[in-house]
């Protein structure tokens, strides 16, 4: 430290530099593409020396794909059915235990049917952890990007989301999670290929079995097909 006051002056130089740089970025933008392109909303670029803020709520930042807020359920738009099988894994992994699922039961056999009768998420309790989406084996629950769900009234009616409110078409999911969607399609294709191969193998095996049991009593023919079971959750 030399002369008293030089430290302060040096510091003021830094402040001045920042002040100028804040506007320099805007001038750059005006010079280049004002009126042609909208202002880039994700301005947090390390090469940028100016302001890094956006004018919320007039402007919204673009959320990265992985961003998670609260979950939504995915509806398969091809079949019109929800993908959820009410396996209950998401309810188990949810740390604050804010997922409530009522499983559908077959009225006759009392066996569980792979679809939820009721599905509630208490979003005022949800801690936005993303475990439900991460551990759902059927890609049936995903994390939303919409963070503007504030409610001024009753928590029970406004913030406890029921199945209807949670359900979104898979096109919406594909729109906000393009990479995840691509992976899903890939998985589906691989699954189908596997199933096809398995089915072919089964046909071959059946043919063999039929040939072997051709002389025996056809007990198998009288057996009724079992009701569809929910696909087993993956091994823990």
């Amino acid at each position: 430290m030399s002369l008293l006051g030089t430290g302060i002056l040096k510091g003021l130089g830094v402040t001045l530099k920042h002040f100028i740089q804040t506007y320099a970025e805007d001038f750059k933008y005006i010079g280049k593409k004002a009126g042609i392109e909208p202002r880039p909303l994700r301005r947090q670029n390390p090469a940028n020396h100016g302001m890094v803020t956006v004018e919320y709520p007039r402007e919204h930042m673009v959320m990265p794909e992985n961003f998670r807020y609260i979950p939504f359920l995915v509806k398969d738009s091809a079949t019109g059915e929800d993908k959820c099988t009410s396996c209950g894994i998401c309810a188990k992994v949810c740390p604050p235990q804010c997922i409530w699922i009522v499983r559908t039961e077959d009225p006759v056999t009392k066996r569980p049917v792979p679809a939820p009768k009721e599905f509630h998420i208490d979003t005022s309790v949800c801690m936005n952890c993303g475990f439900c989406a991460e551990f759902c084996p059927f890609d049936a629950i995903k994390m939303d990007h919409n963070y503007e769900i504030t409610s001024m009234s009753n928590r029970q009616t406004e913030l406890v989301f029921d199945k209807d409110r949670l359900m979104m078409p898979d096109t919406y999911h594909a729109g906000i999670h393009p990479a995840d969607w691509a992976r899903e399609l890939e998985d589906k294709k691989a699954d189908e290929a596997k199933k096809k191969a398995a089915a072919e193998a089964k046909v071959a095996a059946d043919a063999k079995k039929a040939a072997a049991a051709a002389t025996g009593a056809s007990a198998a023919a009288t057996k009724t097909a079992p009701p569809p079971k929910p696909p087993a959750p993956p091994a823990q």
């Binding site: 430290g7 959320m63 740390p95 997922i99 208490d122 993303g130």
Partner: protein, 619 residues
């Protein structure tokens, strides 16, 4: 405040689970380290026995002081990092668990003693405050949450809860207001999960449960009575040894001023009660617990996996290192190792957090000095880049929920790695240089901080202070070197040490640490290229973990200091005991000694230099 007698029908599953736990796993006794062996030799095998899983057990609690004196004086375990208790309800005793360590490094020595549950709040135990002053707050916490009386403690009052609270919440038979079941996942959620609000479900919906024969209309006790009593009792001349306060002769009235809990200088909801003589502070007491949510109780209800996102909420500025400390501990119990790439990602995230956290704390130190928001905003801008990266990689800016047992949640893309490289190689070095230009030579900053809030190395160690505050007092103690974890033994970096012990040196140490973090990051970013892309999870990813019975104390160096997790597993899906040794909480114990004798405006700066986060203080 519900007592055990409340009738919540235990679900069938819980009973089954309890039965399963009844079949106790074979408890392995700790193998004695040479230090423990010498302790046993000195006191005899009757008094010192190997404890279950870890450490030694002192069978006679009355002789605790004697043994601890030996540990401190003969074995030179200078600092007591952690003190906590465990409620073994079936066995009928409360076990006190202490971890003492050498300030030169190495694993801590664990010693335990037991007191029966019935005697805990009447007979009690000898307090260790005369030997380790840093244990004062922790003993108060144990008293508060477990109801263990410490005889000879200078100021034994509740610390996190209010005076007059009924019951000891960490005891296993205490149930919180919206109690549902002992452990998660709750049976009411699936398959017949008809949604019901907690408020409607529980009988004591208004969260109040009075003890028998209690009439609230007649209850008039001021909860702060005990606090003010202790402040008025002490004569100003009997200040702490290092900074004896002498009145200069002018007769002034003493004044007690409450700073906080809603005060911008306290970085959250902390209340400092200061006794002033003119503008000079003659005494200081802290009132904590405004953000207390009993993280530990929640964690004991949680499954092991559930708890990862909760650790983010401890010190919410530094989510990543918190998670790391926790998953490292559970991995030790599970006996698994993360993959190489996951390990590198963990280090990268933790070091980015360190840089961001120091930017933040220096910015707010300047706020405390009165430089309102101009410097703070420059540094917050830099931190924002780290937050953005976390947002992109983990999905959340601060509540990252990124680490998993045996790995991390998501891999990074090459573009994201390049972004980190730009920050590490260009942006942050430039920003740190600029920060130094702005502050290090600034006369006002120097005048306000040099010599302010001094604490000597010896007192720091005695108070169990850790982190940059300790290193600014001349003790080169950094867990990344002293007791290396994760990959830190692979990197080339220094532990910055300064000797001033004042606010200025704490600021300087943080600056130097940021530069070292950048050095680690550079190496990690180069080395991660050698690992296999996508290989981020060891073994199969599971959502239910059966953790083998055992006990672990796992600790990491967060930007605030030593963060320790003491956990006991009984072989089930949930932790039997989970304790957080938080740096902010324990560092606060030394605040009084730093501030007495200073001016009231300095108290704000000194508190800022400790860099506390209330989420971690109150837990």
């Amino acid at each position: 405040m519900a007592e055990a007698t409340t009738t919540v029908p235990p679900a069938a599953k819980t009973a089954a689970r309890a039965e399963k736990a009844e079949k106790k796993p074979v408890v392995t006794l700790a193998t004695l380290t040479p230090e423990m062996a010498s302790l046993q030799q000195h006191f005899g095998a009757d008094l010192i026995q190997p404890a279950p899983y870890e450490g030694v057990l002192i069978t006679d609690p009355a002789r605790l002081t004697e043994v601890t004196n030996f540990l401190h004086d003969e074995l030179h375990l200078e600092s007591l990092t952690s003190a906590t208790a465990v409620d073994f309800i079936k066995e009928g005793y409360i076990e006190l668990v202490y971890h003492a360590q050498h300030i030169t490094g190495g694993a801590p020595l664990c010693f335990k003693t037991r007191v029966s549950r019935k005697d805990a709040d009447t007979v009690g135990l000898p307090s260790l405050t005369p030997i380790y002053p840093g244990v004062e707050f922790q003993e108060r916490e144990i008293y508060d949450l477990y109801g263990v009386r410490f005889n000879g403690h200078p100021d034994l009052r509740r610390i996190l809860l209010w005076e007059g609270f009924n019951g000891y919440p960490m005891r296993k038979d205490w149930h919180e207001a919206y109690y549902a079941q002992d452990t998660k996942p709750y049976d009411t959620r699936w398959p017949a999960g008809n949604h019901k609000l907690d408020e409607e479900r529980v009988p004591w919906a208004d969260n109040v449960n009075y003890p028998p024969n209690f009439n609230p209309a007649e209850y008039t006790r001021n909860p702060d009575e005990g606090l003010y009593d202790t402040m008025y009792k002490e004569a100003p001349e009997q200040g702490p040894t290092d900074t004896p306060y002498q009145n200069t002769g002018i007769k002034t009235d003493e004044l007690i001023v409450n700073m906080g809990p809603q005060h911008p200088s306290t970085h959250g909801v902390l209340r400092m009660v200061v006794k002033l003589d003119g503008e000079t502070i003659t005494d200081l007491k802290l009132v904590l617990g405004y953000l207390h949510r009993n993280h530990e109780k929640i964690a004991e209800r949680n499954t092991w996996l559930h708890n990862i996102p909760y650790t983010d909420r401890l010190d919410y500025i530094t989510g990543m290192p918190n998670e790391l400390g926790y998953v490292l501990g559970v991995e030790k119990l599970l006996k698994i190792k993360p993959t190489e790439r996951a390990d590198y990602l963990r280090v990268i995230m933790c070091e980015l957090t360190r840089v961001a956290s120091h930017f933040w704390s220096i910015g707010f130190l300047l706020n405390d000095l009165g430089a309102f928001y101009t410097p703070a905003l420059y540094f917050i801008t830099e931190r924002e880049f780290v937050m953005d990266l976390f947002d992109e990689i983990t999905g959340s800016r601060m509540m990252n929920n990124y680490m998993r047992f045996g790995g991390v949640a998501r891999d990074v893309t090459p573009e994201q790695l390049d972004k980190i490289r730009v920050l590490v190689n260009e942006r942050f070095p430039r920003a740190i240089d600029e920060m130094e230009r702005l502050l290090s030579d600034n006369e006002i900053v120097r005048m306000r901080t040099i010599g302010v809030g001094y604490l000597s190395a010896e007192r720091c160690v005695a108070y169990s202070v850790t982190g940059p505050v300790l290193r600014a007092s001349g003790v080169p103690y950094d867990l990344r070197r002293a007791d290396p974890y994760s990959l830190y033994d692979r990197f080339d970096f220094d532990v910055p040490v300064l000797y001033g012990g004042d606010v200025y040196d704490r600021y300087r140490v943080r600056v130097l640490e940021m530069r070292q973090s950048l050095r680690i990051l550079e190496q990690a970013l180069a080395q991660i290229e050698q690992t296999k892309v996508g290989d981020i999870q060891a073994g199969k990813k599971a959502y239910i973990h059966r953790v083998p019975a055992g006990e672990v104390y796992s600790r990491v160096e967060t930007p605030k200091g030593e963060l320790g997790f003491y956990m006991i597993s009984d072989g089930g899906q949930n932790a039997y005991r989970y304790h957080v040794r938080s740096a902010s909480f324990i560092n606060l114990g030394a605040l009084k000694e730093m501030t007495v004798g200073m001016k009231v405006a300095d108290a704000v700066v000194i508190l800022g230099s400790l860099d506390i986060v209330l989420g971690e203080v109150d837990r």
